[in-house]
Point group: C2
Chain length 336, copies 2
DNA sequence: TACCACATTTAAAACGTTTCATAAAGCGCC
DNA sequence: GGCGCTTTATGAAACGTTTTAAATGTGGTA
């Protein structure tokens, strides 16, 4: 019930409280004998540092804020997991904020975390947030942007190259001999969708005789995938694509359901299929799904890394943009 | 760049710093005119409370620790989301810790959070953790246990009644006229599995002529579900069950794949199927899956609620055990 | 006019650390 | 034996709040 402070430890060990602090922070400066006495006292009393006091004096805390668009989205869950792991390794606590995609909540979390005087913010922004982050920076709180193509290079960021991902997917389809390829995805105002399509187009352009048909969807859902899949089954085989690149795994799953259920079309024999995100279900679909994997956890770890670097560094630290390249995971749905 | 403190605000507003604090905490005590001047100054300087100092003086922080077994598990993700929402509403920050099911990491997080002097811990424990929590409690840090059948009633807890869930599932199958029911799940040392089976048994016992066959699995995975499903397809129709209750949705998904793919068995006509957890994919399976939904987010919200109550209350606060009843979500896979 | 009650404001102490300047002690060397 | 040097330990100040007791001002009442 009683809070144990350095003072109590000092009293029990028969030293001054400054010495206790030295044992904790700069053990080299204190003799082995004294050190032992102090450590014994700490052990005996079960002393645990009060980070608030530490932070107050030191001016810097040992926590990091993470604000994500939607913690329910596996991408962000994995990212949070990676960030938390790295933070814990460095002895930092991770404050989690879920903005649910709304600017108001995002701002609320930034305020809450600023009150906590976090070492810095990791944020996947909803809207225009640069002004807020600039203000925080002027207060000595750095930020790292997550998963966004940033015009403003004045902040550090981590992201994944969706154009490269699109190329990866379509190049793979071309490699396994497909030429009439369809892209399924939308709406294109989602920049991930347009980037993946852009990558697909580039890959197609490099190969003569290869064509790309774009089938637009209203959303990136299983249902939309099923709808497009049913439409493909209805087509005469001659005008069907021989491969489909879906903008995410949900669409791909829906496509797969429609194609295999209706039994007119075999995957991969008639139509090869590539998804995107490599969600847990991709590998356990009726036909295991080839997909593009994003290194989400690594993104989180790296974001923490950049943040700590920026926080340690002197004033004029150069922000860094780290762009990861996604990875192709080949499974049955495109097996030759 | 300079940190703005109450002192600066006081100077600009031409009042003492005690008055600034009063404006922030007990506005009734300060005249409207002064209040306005102070608020203007706060606005102008962009003053943000330093929670470390606040906490140091007040002895209590404005953050809550959450340690989960596996943040990648949708159940815990939803729970964390609910907890975070509720915490944010109350002006609290949520510290997230992922124990990955290992006791060492769990302990590490508890230490880290204790250093932060969190208001309390929310924890889904890995192993025997009562001693650690008892120690924390003696230090004035309460805990709420999450999702566990606790022998020790001395801690508050939130959990879901898996026995009730099992009954719910099987009663539904009985309601739609099925009598030869199979339970698919395992290993039974997982208490969720044994509880759900227990519920299933009870429901069966209440109806004469109903039988329950138990098909054991090594793990709760899609693959295992597919294995059992294939075995069922191989049986002569006469000795097949007319309904299956799977211990979770992954198993159910595997079962569904095997049953519908091999085309010998129709769902729900020949075999009705109920899963458990109501994961996102349940509703978009080839045959939309009837499942048992756990109120994960509500669990998280409630856990925060209990924690705050305990933290506000006087010394001898009675711990509370809240047990939620899961909910049946009927879809195609059992449609009459 | 003198006094009191009340509303408002102030000044100072306290929270538990870290840090810094300084003191004490031990030691080798001339 | 005194000197400087290094190692080790100390005490006090400081971080930014909240809180408490005391001070100040205002108006009403005797």
């Amino acid at each position: 019930m009683a809070a144990v402070s350095v003072r109590d430890v000092a009293a029990l060990a028969g030293v001054s409280l400054g010495t206790v602090s030295n044992v904790l922070n700069t053990p080299d400066r204190v003799s082995p004998a004294t050190q032992k006495r102090v450590l014994d006292a700490i052990e005996k009393l079960g002393f645990v540092r009060n980070d608030a006091a530490r932070q107050l004096r030191a001016g810097r805390s040992r926590s990091i804020g993470l604000v994500v668009l939607d913690i329910g989205n596996p991408f962000f869950t994995d990212l949070a997991e990676g960030a938390e792991d790295r933070a814990a390794e460095a002895g930092f606590a991770l404050l989690l904020g879920n903005s649910h995609g709304t600017a108001a909540r995002e701002t609320r979390h930034l305020e809450l975390f600023e009150e906590q005087r976090v070492r810095g913010m990791l944020i996947s922004p909803v809207g225009e947030i640069e002004p807020q982050l600039a203000r925080l920076r002027s207060r000595g709180i750095p930020s790292v942007l997550v998963d966004r193509s940033i015009a403003d290079q004045s902040f550090s960021s981590v992201s994944v190259d969706d154009v490269a991902g699109g190329m990866l997917a379509v190049n793979h389809l071309l490699d396994v001999g497909r030429r009439r390829i369809a892209f399924v995805g939308g709406p294109t105002r989602i920049h991930q969708v347009s980037d993946r399509l852009e990558g697909a187009s580039r890959a197609i352009s490099a190969v003569t005789g290869a064509t790309l048909e774009v089938l637009s969807t209203e959303a990136l859902t299983v249902l939309e995938g099923r709808r497009i899949g049913a439409a493909l089954v209805d087509r005469p085989p001659a005008v069907r694509p021989d491969a489909v690149f879906a903008a995410n795994d949900l669409l791909a799953t829906g496509l797969l359901q429609a194609l295999t259920m209706l039994n007119g079309v075999r995957v991969p024999d008639d139509i090869a299929l590539v998804g995107y995100d490599d969600i847990a279900f991709a590998s356990t679909a009726v036909v295991a799904l080839t997909s593009i994997r994003q290194p989400s956890a690594l993104l989180g770890r790296t974001a923490v890394e950049l943040l700590l670097a920026e926080s340690e560094a002197a004033e004029g630290h150069e922000p860094r943009q780290v762009v990861f390249t996604p990875e192709l995971v080949v499974r049955e749905s495109t097996a030759p």
